[in-house]
């Protein structure tokens, strides 16, 4: 496990629409490992590893954007009003956030003090429009740095919880990490197919990166690597998956069953533990990728993760390792028979 890489991926800020920050981290990590690497105008980045004969192309997709907030106003006193649709406002009071103005500023989201609240008041849910960010600056001072529309993110803090790892934006930097490591593994293997690592923009909003890059890159088949819910108090194994029990394969009408079967077979052959998540549509980039152009057969491999869209997402490195192994072996196992089956079907 390259903890340094996962740390720099999760510590970096890339609120949806501002993904460029992450490009340099990925470029550095992949230096010397791929045949081509290019930033796209949609905010995505892709890296290509050529196969032999490389008649077909597999795209591995993980999104680089993270959930965030936007500045909607500046009060007379200099506090920032914020908005978000992807974050539960219940996790915000009492936290430090980073405001991405002309420069990065730290700020506090606080509440009226305990001593001045009634018992009734303290039970009330506080919607996002009642919260504010305090950077300790006057209106005049902060206006020189922060504008309406600037983004705000959680404060990063990469922490080891025994064997687990916690930080902001593990969704989906864990997926990004997996793809980087798979591409690095391909140095040892010459795959039959070309492999593209697609580091997608704007998954948390519209799937813009997945939609437009897929059209541009024209992969023949694809796998999205994202996170799914992990079990925790109040979150049962009916709706979530256990950390440490392996990658989660999505099963349902929204994915390609030949790819899924190959993933299942590969896991079985090499003794990699996997879990299955049944749904209709995966709700990941894959849902967009599948219907681009003439259609892209695609599947989803997810990493179970606790407390999604909070500053303290938690993941098990064991699951990351198993996902890297599964995908590397999946690529290694791709043969003419599989390709014929995949294309005979579609």
């Amino acid at each position: 496990m390259n903890e340094e890489l996962l740390k720099s991926l999760t510590d970096s800020f890339a609120v949806t629409g501002y993904e460029e920050n992450l490009h340099s981290v990925i470029l550095n990590a992949l230096k010397g490992y791929t045949d081509k690497i290019e930033s796209l105008k949609n905010g995505s980045l892709y890296a290509l590893k050529k196969g032999k004969p490389g008649k077909c192309t597999l795209m591995l997709d993980a999104h680089i954007d993270e959930v965030g907030m936007f500045v909607t106003g500046i009060t007379d006193e200099g506090f920032l009003r914020i908005h978000t649709r992807s974050i539960d406002p219940k996790v915000l009071p009492g936290s430090v956030v980073v405001v991405h103005g002309k420069k990065d500023l730290k700020g506090v989201i606080g509440l009226k003090p305990y001593h001045l609240q009634s018992k009734e008041e303290m039970k009330k849910y506080i919607p996002i429009d009642q919260l504010f960010v305090d950077c300790g600056m006057s209106n005049k001072k902060i206006r020189q740095i922060v504008n309406i529309g600037d983004t705000v993110s959680f404060l990063p803090d990469f922490v080891k919880l025994q064997n687990l790892i916690s930080n902001k934006s593990i969704d989906d930097r864990a997926g990004v990490y997996v793809i980087i490591e798979v591409l690095k593994n391909l140095k040892r293997i010459t795959p039959l197919v070309n492999v593209i690592g697609h580091f997608a923009s704007q998954e948390e909003v519209t799937g813009l990166g997945a939609l437009t890059s897929t059209y541009y890159l024209k992969p023949d088949f694809a796998i999205a690597i994202d996170v799914t819910h992990g079990t925790s108090p109040g979150v049962t194994s009916r709706e979530a998956y256990q950390l440490g029990k392996g990658p989660v394969l999505f099963v349902g009408p929204g994915i390609d069953h030949i790819i899924l079967q190959k993933l299942v077979d590969t896991a079985k052959k090499f003794g990699i533990p996997v879990q299955k998540e049944v749904g209709i549509l995966s709700g990941t980039d894959q849902t967009e990728i599948q219907i681009v152009g003439k259609g892209v057969p695609s599947a989803v491999v997810s990493l179970p993760q606790r407390y999604m869209h909070t500053p303290v997402e938690v993941i098990d490195p064991e699951d990351i390792k198993n996902t890297i192994n599964l995908l590397t072996l999946f690529i290694e196992e791709i043969d003419e028979t599989f390709m014929e089956e995949l294309y005979g079907e579609h």
Binding site: T75, K90, G94, G110, Y125, D134, G136, K141, P233, Y307
Partner: protein
């Protein structure tokens, strides 16, 4: 001017009520050589004495070492930790926070059910602290119990930092700012006998001061605090309690004390003469060790002076250096005048 290095050390230290040792050690080290004697009593109060043979009224400088936090009271079958609150904390500040547990400062996080999985009702309701759990990454109950025995205290994991020129954030400014002020004041020379009482367990009922002020009872006591400010949007002008940047907060009355009129007037006249800004605490909320000290034996004359702080009793609070400096200067001149 403000010893920011000391404030940083104190703010980052572990000191949930009843577990103040780390804070005590920092203070003991800081004041060494500036006082004649220090002692630690049965509850853990740190008492420092200076010029005790001198004539004149005995002056107590008081600040509490403890901070609000949590204590582990339950471990579930999967190794997640339930907790009680130590001191007054709004439950709504806890979800999504990072914490450190026990002497070994084992890291943990307070997670919540992802927003995607919440019902509409769950989404629109706050979460009581009894439904929140700390995740330390334990594999199971056994492992969790070995790492974190029941009763382990928990503090917020918040780094002290200057976020803008003269603006600082961190945890436990209530009352590590008071501790820093007292420690720095002890480095000054005064002609009166000085008793510094760094008390324990203020946040759970002003416990430490009860025995600290019994053993060394002063004639005059000054309690130094980091106090409530509701200097925030959507709060009416007369309900803000105190404002940042307006100087030391002088308490006339809070929930436990009416401070001494004559001493308070003297304090105000010094502030005016020295052109040190000051403000009166607007609301009668919050209690301090002053209550214990004022009611000790046949009674002690007390005043309470504080640095205004936003978001006290929360994982992260905020103060201005100018308020700290003005508080230090005012108290220094006040003590010299006695």
């Amino acid at each position: 001017m403000a010893n920011i290095e000391l404030i940083e050390k104190l703010s980052n230290a572990f000191g949930v009520s009843g577990y103040e040792k780390e804070v005590r050690n920092i203070l003991k080290e800081e004041i060494r050589g500036f006082v004649d004697r220090t002692e630690t009593d049965s509850m853990g109060n740190l008492i420092a004495l200076k010029n005790m043979q001198a004539k004149g009224p005995k002056i107590m400088l008081n600040a509490h070492m403890d901070e609000v936090g949590l204590i582990v009271d339950y471990i579930d079958e999967n190794g997640f930790l339930g907790f009680k609150k130590v001191g007054g904390i709004d439950d709504r500040l806890l979800a999504g926070k990072r914490v450190l547990l026990g002497d070994k400062k084992i890291p943990g996080v307070i997670g919540i059910k992802a927003i995607h999985l919440q019902t509409k009702e769950e989404e629109e309701n706050s979460i009581p602290s009894k439904n929140l759990y700390i995740d330390i990454g334990a594999k199971n109950k056994d492992e969790a119990e070995k790492l974190i025995p029941l009763g382990t205290p928990v503090m917020f994991k918040t780094e002290f930092e200057e976020i803008s020129s003269g603006v600082y954030i961190g945890k436990a400014f209530d009352d590590r700012l008071g501790c820093a002020l007292v420690a720095e004041l002890l480095k000054e020379s005064f002609k009166n006998p000085i008793i510094a009482l760094f008390s324990v367990q203020e946040e759970i009922g002003l416990r430490g001061a009860a025995i600290g002020a019994y053993k060394y009872t002063p004639d005059i006591s000054i309690t130094l605090e980091g106090t409530i400010s509701a200097d925030l949007p959507d709060v009416k002008e007369h309900l803000k309690c105190t404002k940042l940047g307006q100087g030391p907060v002088i308490t006339i009355k809070d929930s436990g004390t009416i401070t001494d009129n004559a001493l308070r007037e003297k304090l105000v006249s010094i502030a005016k003469k020295q052109k040190i800004p000051y403000q009166f605490k607007q609301l009668l909320a919050g209690g301090t060790d002053s209550y214990r000290i004022q009611t000790m034996k046949s009674g002690v004359k007390v005043i309470t002076v504080a640095v205004p702080v936003r978001y006290i009793h929360s994982p992260v609070s905020l103060f201005y250096k100018t308020d700290y400096d003005n508080t230090f200067n005012l108290i220094k001149r006040f003590v010299k005048s006695l």
